[in-house]
Amino acid sequence: MTLLPSDQKSWTATQTVSAVAGGEISAEAVATHALQTVDKLDPEINAFTDVTAERALSEARAVDEAIARGEELPLAGVPYAVKNLFDMEGVTTRAGSKINRENPPASADATLVGKLKAAGAILIGGLNMGEYAYDFTGENVHDGNCLNPHDLTRMTGGSSSGSGAAAAAGMVPVTLGSDTNGSIRVPSSFCGLFGLKPTYGRLSRAGSFPFVGSLDHLGPLARSAEDLALVFDVMQGADPKDPAQADKPVLPTLPELPKGIDGLRIAVAGGYFRQKAMPEAFQAVDLIANALGAAGEIEVPEAARARASAYVITTVEGSALHLERIRTRPEDFDPDTRDRFLSGAMVPAVWVQQAQRFRSWFRAMMRELFTHVDILLAPATPFHALPSGTKTIVLDGEEMPARPNIGLFTQPISFIGLPVATVPVWLEGASLPIGVQVIAPAWREDLALRVAHHLQTTGAVSAPVAHLQ
């Protein structure tokens, strides 16, 4: 029962549950191994900001006792870690900032952390992130940059940087992140993972530090689509503590995966989504489109305006949230976010209200578009992971700042809250992965996960653990 298999680093959550529930290994042995892996690898990667070792071992022992009593736990013994904007009881929620670490420790777990614990998962710790989630790079001046396990000279992507790095390095099979404009999908792309940004309003955000209430989502990152479905199903359910959560029935997705792509109408998003990117982004989409037999391109009208609207709403709502802090102690912010929060506090109100009204227009248009198609494919990022410290990029001959533009393909989609499964593509000869967004209609995470699972089982996409020395 205490044998530690040498390949545990590459275990998925599903494999772990099978081994723990089947009595092949104890949850305590799995947790111990995960903690040892973090000790060994994290000094190089810098994914973790808090390691909850005592809690992990205590939770693991409780799982072993529950299994001995004959209880069935859907996530028995699965080690996981969370972006450090999730409340973990007894740990201060830093949200990537210096300022918030002056707060007292959280008095309770975030709703989603509580749900994972109840399902038998083992919390290993809190993960690095871009300050207050206003970031696509994974760089953080307070906690140090989180490095991409597939190439330590490159960004993880952000803002859920540690969530990408910890799963890609095999420290844990599952992590939780948040995604306002792309912060799950960007690190999934740069770190070669499956990531699920559910429909806006699907999962409770209670007990997580907010960024932009109009656009904030929470979701999982993992090395298999099946794991995304497993964890997503556990995390669903009504929670009166999140006022933006929609009144929708639970949607079990795991039983839907075997249906594959049968009957699905799949198209590539055209226009805006076929411009301003490096060749690898389009090659990855084309590879997935071919693997799925997609029926050509479909134009998504006004995507640039959707992105612009999300940009305006983000800077205004984020700055309103942080106004007192940015007024009284701007020097305590990461300079890269400080200047954006200062700028956002100066925006005329009519601009943001018009952006919110346009959101209704774009939603109506996309609802109509999704009567003709079930799945849209688009790049997750315009390129592979950038070298750390990159400040500007050139796309279609136009030089632009890197930080806000890494998410130019993710931002129009989260703007109206559509569910997306990001899938990791390894192009022939490439040393880095790149993600493709599998976009479904609102409330149909099952369709996106079916496609992602089909692509993984047919070998078109994969999320291998990074080879670290």
Binding site: S343, A345, Q354, S360
Partner: protein, 61 residues
Amino acid sequence: MSGPFDEKAHVAHMEKVMGLTVKEDWRPVVEAHVAATAKAADLVMSFPLDDELEAAPVFVP
């Protein structure tokens, strides 16, 4: 928008209105962000919307 956007004048005015501190070595970057937001807003504001189109509220009384 009604005319060319002057991000320097906008920042100089709004930092006083909002009680913000913009140190001189931060100013060029803040102005660049304000200009980028104005450019995005230009795209948003130039799109004709029907009068009855409302923002989607989540407020439930």
